[in-house]
Subunit: 287 residues, 2 copies
């Protein structure tokens, strides 16, 4: 898996660099580029492997993988803003609004979202109907019924009288982090018009495993390794998988989801080994 991961990382970085090079020079472009540096590229990897499993070459999937990473970068920039999570450290560097300014961070996030849609319209992806399917699914995944909705629920929970229960936290995270992961993992069948059911089941479970480990790392993680502040959510008294299940319970739950994710890939046989390995990596990671 690692070789493939490195390959995807290099391809996506080159595509990001090319997209940025076409924009007018200045602070806005610099801030956008800054926001897209680093990252694990898990979502891009999902896109590329999903496409490969459905017989699509990297050249077809690359604009989609790049769009997903642009979108993820914008979501981090806006989530880190003082009015939102107020974070000052991300990927081991000052967050975008600390490095530049709040105004520039808001604008950089806005323009990253626009650019993501631009990439989904690219000819390289092929069939126009396929591109429109991607654009529709992407909009739903990231907007007021997906990622942004989840973030709004999260913000609302901070001022709620009672902390969320497990069902509510699961629903919130399925939207906030899960929706984009599901889009990424189903990009292959979305392009070919095949049934995304198994990859969708995989992604649903993977997304929750991923988020539970995020909550665990917020308690046990090392800032030097994760590149972001630890203890933020737990100290804020926010309901997380760890506060609701305990550390051991959360670890068991993450393992359960990772096993379910692997199981969903059965019909893809050997060829889905990279995605299975990703499910194992997600619960073992320390970053």
């Amino acid at each position: 898996m690692q070789a493939r991961f490195d390959e995807v990382k290099a391809q996506v970085q080159a595509a990001l660099d090319a997209a940025m090079a076409e924009l007018p020079k200045g602070e806005l472009r610099d801030a956008m580029a800054y926001a897209t540096v680093g990252g694990k590229r898990v979502r891009a990897f999902l896109v590329m492997e999903s496409a490969r499993l459905h017989g699509l070459g990297d050249d077809i999937a690359l604009p989609v993988a790049t769009a997903v990473e642009l979108l993820h970068a914008y979501s981090l920039v806006h989530d880190d803003l003082p009015a939102m999570d107020n974070d000052d450290l991300r990927r081991g560097m000052p967050t975008c609004h600390v490095q530049w300014s709040e105004a520039t961070a808001i604008l950089a996030g806005d323009a990253l979202q626009s650019l993501a849609f631009r990439l989904l319209s690219e000819d390289a992806i092929g069939d126009p109907e396929a591109r429109l399917r991607l654009i529709r699914a992407f909009s739903d995944a990231i907007g007021a019924r997906g990622m942004v909705w989840g973030q709004a629920l999260d913000i609302a929970a901070e001022t709620a009288l009672e902390p969320l229960d497990l069902k509510a936290v699961t629903k919130l995270q399925a939207a906030k982090t899960g929706a984009l992961i599901r889009f990424a993992a189903t990009a292959g069948p979305l392009i070919t018009g095949e049934d995304p059911q198994y990859l969708d089941e995989y992604a649903k479970a993977l997304g929750l495993a991923f988020q539970i480990v995020d909550d665990i790392l917020d308690v046990t993680g090392d800032e030097e390794v994760t590149g972001k502040r630890v203890g933020k959510d737990s100290n804020a008294g926010k309901a997380t998988f760890v506060s609701l299940l305990g550390l051991d319970g959360a670890q068991a739950e993450a393992r359960r989801y990772a096993v379910a994710a692997e199981a969903a890939l059965k019909r893809y046989g050997e060829s889905a080994e990279n995605l299975r390995e990703l499910a194992r990596f997600v619960i073992e990671r320390d970053t």
Copy 2:
């Protein structure tokens, strides 16, 4: 023109209501709906008339007109934020972040952008290639080479050592307000694949006339009528068309652009009368 304007307004409001009704209930949706209420709908009118001039029915153009108004609403919500222009009054009501919260305003703007792209992918628009042309042009018009770029230049100008000159202000406004107006006015030929040249020339001139009058109203306008604070830009010492040309000079310049806008419509003959009237309205308006 007024009857057509009222017709477009009603159609767009119904389409906006329908789009909102499909979203999950809650503060996010309420804030999005709040942000889209009111407004002159000049951009929607441009889309519908541009489409009509190229033989397209309102049913085809309506999702595009709605997308443009969603996008415009998001841009106002983000521009009004404390970190940006810090406005508390818009369309005669408290701005979105005053009515709700900064976090909700940021998220509502983000989700309005996603929803705009969703509408541009709708089947009603027809030919898939046409929809992809719209999506590409829209992304360019609103992102890091269009509207957001213009806003970034505007923010940067606030801390620059020297105020901008006329050339720089014109360039800035051509991006900040002009790019979306040009997209709206060329939507018809973008859909049919015809040459957008004349409508683009019209829109370029109209956009500048529109912005010059905005600068004039910032000095001479009545808050009760414009529904937003007056004197903000002029008191902030920002370079505007009025600060650079004086009130009389700015009025003459706006008239010059409106005449150029009308002239660009020559080849459309009688059928472009609504757009000609709009050019005259734009420089006579008090709101």
